[in-house]
């Protein structure tokens, strides 16, 4: 699935000093255990950080469950990662009452980078889901307002600059390393 470098980035915390986080994670595991993927689910060594990896097709169910059961209404942001064979979307939420930041992540295969959009249940995700589609080519299916938001209008639709294999085919990065004024008509 994921390449070897990414396995080692997980630095789980000891139970001691992170009781609240473990209590939350264990409750979620007992109630929604069937959709959680153990590999990327852990309590981070930093205080108040929980990372949960779930099955991509259950994202909407899980977000709804978290909103109803745990009062998770504060949405921070959405970030993508390129893992090689997979693309990853990380939804960063913050549970304001328990003061715990929850990151929900899904891995989707690079050949079929599609998953269900959550903009209708979390309106705040509208801009960032658009941004993720532009930058990584991760398509949120069912997004109510898909449009270009960050990249220029003349950007080709099949180029995603933040993917690791984007090799700058038009020499844009070299062009901006200017050393003197350009002759303009």
């Amino acid at each position: 699935m994921s390449n070897q470098d990414n396995v080692s980035i997980f630095r789980p915390a000891l139970e001691e000093g992170h009781e609240d986080e473990y209590a939350l994670l264990n409750q979620i595991k007992s109630e929604m255990g069937d959709i959680i993927i153990e590999e990327g689910t852990y309590v981070h060594i930093q205080p108040r950080r929980v990372f949960i990896q779930i099955r991509p097709d259950k994202l909407r169910d899980f977000v709804k469950y978290m909103q109803e059961k745990h009062g998770m209404w504060q949405f921070s942001t959405l970030s993508g990662r390129d893992l090689g064979n997979d693309l990853q979307a990380n939804y960063h939420f913050f549970i304001n009452d328990k003061k715990i930041a929850v990151t929900i992540r899904i891995n989707v295969p690079r050949t079929m980078p599609e998953y269900q959009s959550i903009t209708d249940i979390v309106p705040a995700a509208e801009f960032v889901e658009n941004e993720l589609r532009e930058m990584f080519g991760l398509v949120p299916v069912g997004h109510p307002n898909p449009r270009r938001c960050e990249l220029p209008e003349n950007w080709p639709a099949d180029e995603f600059p933040l993917r690791k294999d984007w090799q700058d085919p038009r020499g844009l990065m070299k062009r901006s390393q200017t050393t003197g004024p350009k002759e303009v008509k």
Partner: protein, 123 residues
């Protein structure tokens, strides 16, 4: 909720006050020029420079370039010396901090305006 007087008192007070404006550029009096202001990049102590290229490597905007010492320069150990393309310099002073022998400095000179990018190379 609303009442008169919060603003009017202040307006009257300011009649007696000195004007807040500094009459720069005719005089620099009244300007705040603190110690350690990060201004123009200078190659201050060329005799100490060894040409180690650390400054070139740490510069976030690749403003520093190492060139071979000319005949008039003080010859460094490796035969290279830094020059600064000041149009790219972001005045972060990381080169000053990273330099092991305090060769470089950002001086307090802040009055800079150029008509061409070629004039902006500091040797």
């Amino acid at each position: 909720m609303s009442r008169l007087g919060a603003m009017e008192k202040e307006l009257l007070k300011s009649i007696k006050k000195k004007p807040a404006t500094v009459i720069y550029p005719f005089t620099k009096e009244g300007l705040n020029i603190p110690v350690g202001l990060r201004g123009r990049w200078t190659y201050k102590n060329p005799d100490r420079c060894t040409g180690c290229k650390i400054c070139e490597r740490v510069c976030p905007s690749s403003a520093i370039e190492m060139v071979e010492c000319g005949p008039d320069d003080i010859q460094t150990k490796t035969g290279w010396r830094p020059i600064c393309h000041f149009d790219r310099c972001i005045l972060c002073a990381q080169c000053v901090e990273s330099c092991p022998r305090s060769v470089l400095e950002l001086s307090a000179e802040f009055e800079m305006a150029f008509l061409s990018r070629d004039d902006m190379i500091i040797r």
